[in-house]
Assembly symmetry: C2
């Protein structure tokens, strides 16, 4: 919670404009986060993961500070360019791309692409020919699987291939005349273990050596995201991650350090945003005294809090009654969908005096909230958002 | 798949307008479904659950045929009224409502409200006073918990209270001067067991008797939704549900049958809609011959297929290669979100010849798709929708 957000919410209430949940994001925090990343990893280029929060003000602020951008789609590329980034500062980091989207990205000037199989390499080569971009000007990096141990939102096997296959994929790119540029991985979102990069860097170093044996000289390691934001538990500072990553890089690459990039999303904007929501109902399922209490908010899984899926992300919730004793509550959203329950397996302690009509503040809500909101489920509008 | 949808998709392709996934819904099927419900339960009023698909054309068609509407929010109430329904044909069926939303609904003429606790009854009484509606004109029904056994999308304990508490809630409404009108329950969405209503109707009958002892004469049983649509497995016809429900009603209420309503959503529009999507990538995670195949579509969990959550709803998928032998595939969406995987625990058999760029047809996609779509996650636009 920052003073600027507190003031904004106070004025919004005084003006009677406080209808419906809202996410407010403080750009000062984003600036501080960017500076911290740049300092913690001084020789690493920062590619902000646009999907975490694509608000134009966030992108403009980061573009001005020198950030590069990791994008998932043509629309996100266009947003990054509109925010003032040049195309050489944009990576098309989604391993799943339509060939016509790759062609469009090339036309927009993007030259850095993620792949995790030969079929995706072939698409890039064909798309380059189609839009008359020299294949050797197109940089391709191959994503490898990573076990994600230690992450709170661990990644599935959806992206990446095994390291041995990555060597073949990069050779395939090289033989197709593309620039076989490097390796990427992702240690899992909200990664609490600063040492989590070590194993993946060992694999990356192996891929560099195997490719060198085949005459292919890779240049870059994309260290991905995973940098956490604070929810309920304290998380290590960015500088701890920087130190640990630098140690692992030196351990595995010796004095031939590769070019590196990082892709923070949650770590860049998570703690900059806060959601204000309203308690719609407090009830019990029976009159029994020991019956668990249900608290229903006007925001839920389909209104922006999708990351509560399987109770993965556990937000810090502030109320005006936080000095009071707490009782374990099931926390749920406002829709008629039975799956719209935020915390039930592990009930959430909330003040016994929390009542219908009270506002609650959900901290660490700057990332992966606004764009996850459903377009109109149950007639509820998407999450409002203000960047200040 | 209907001929009308097939023709529409063919013309869309011929015009080169087939960019991005699309849901196409055939109103003729909706009309047939409405007629089937009306025939199967001739003495029951049909309240279409707007949340399943609030497309204006669907609401207008159903309003013309005489349907009533079950709504989850003020916006859905306004949509039902705009479609031509009078306010006496609208139920505010969400048990979680802001007091100011109840007041707005009353101002719009709605008089039928769901509750599941005394606090919600109090809101309704206060709201009626605030907008000068006589309390006795406001009908309140209390939702009870139901175990949902046999349902493919079983309900949580989010809505409803235990039957014993419902008696107290209805007495509370009665003493507040509201019209204590009846009982509702929901046997679980995509309910395959036609006998599932029996247990809940036993509870409803008990509540009617207990209330009568306290001098309160209830009138109505809201039988909820749960009527399935066909996905992979065949489901019983609507007439089987009608027969089973009538038997259960007679068993528990004898010759004093209450007024009844049903709230079909999925059963009304599910089989009327089909999604056309595109294969973006087919790949493996390693070169091993027995490695599972991954198929990535341009629609996923955040683009409209939210009901694949926990692999609950398993859609029927048609391709142009359906005579070919199939291989088990992991099916995933196009976003950079690792949770955007549709079927992995139980892989989905797809033709071995299915290739990048192929179109696939997802059947039974008329309900709970368009409105679940995220507003802009990863820069992907919400699901396009055509009602024909």
């Amino acid at each position: 919670m920052t003073d600027r957000i507190r003031d904004f919410l106070r004025v919004r209430r005084e003006l009677g404009r406080d209808e419906g949940p809202v996410m407010v994001l403080d750009l000062d925090v984003v600036r501080d986060n960017y500076t911290a990343f740049a300092r913690a990893l001084p020789d690493t280029r920062v590619f902000y993961a646009v999907k975490a929060n694509p608000a134009p003000e966030v992108l403009r602020t980061l573009a001005e500070m020198g950030s590069c951008f990791d994008t998932a789609s043509v629309v996100e590329i266009q947003m990054a360019l509109s925010a003032g980034a040049t195309a050489d500062r944009v990576s098309f980091g989604n391993t799943i791309k339509k060939e016509r989207c790759i062609a469009r990205a090339l036309q927009l000037g993007v030259r850095l692409f993620a792949v995790d199989c030969q079929a995706e390499v072939d698409k890039i080569a064909r798309a380059a020919d189609a839009v008359k971009v020299a294949r050797e000007d197109v940089q391709v990096f191959c994503r490898i699987l990573c076990d994600g141990a230690g992450a709170e939102w661990p990644l599935s096997r959806k992206f990446g291939c095994v390291p041995e296959m990555a060597v073949d994929v990069l050779e395939h790119a090289y033989r197709a005349g593309l620039n076989a540029y490097g390796v990427s991985f992702h240690v899992g979102s909200q990664q609490g273990n600063t040492e989590a990069w070590d194993g993946a860097l060992a694999s990356a170093s192996m891929i560099f050596r195997e490719c060198a044996i085949r005459g292919i000289h890779l240049s870059m390691v994309n260290l991905g995201g995973g940098f956490p934001t604070r929810y309920l538990k304290a998380v290590p500072g960015v500088e701890s991650y920087g130190d640990a990553i630098f140690r692992a890089l030196t351990k595995h690459f010796g004095n031939q350090l590769p070019e590196t990039i990082i892709e923070p999303g949650r770590g860049m904007v998570g703690n900059a945003g806060m959601i204000e929501a309203e308690v719609v109902l407090v009830s019990q399922k029976s009159d029994a005294a020991d019956e668990v209490r249900w608290v229903y908010l006007d925001i839920g899984k389909f209104g922006g809090l999708a990351e509560t899926m399987d109770e993965s992300i556990r937000y810090r919730i502030l109320t005006d009654h936080d000095e009071d004793r707490t009782v374990p509550c099931v926390l749920a959203g406002p829709t008629c969908d039975s799956a719209d329950v935020l915390y039930e397996k592990t009930p959430y302690p909330l003040p016994v005096s929390l009542a219908i009509g009270d506002k609650v503040l959900i901290e660490g809500a700057g990332a992966y909230t606004t764009t996850y909101a459903a377009v109109a489920f149950n007639g509820f509008p998407p999450l409002q958002s203000y960047v200040i």
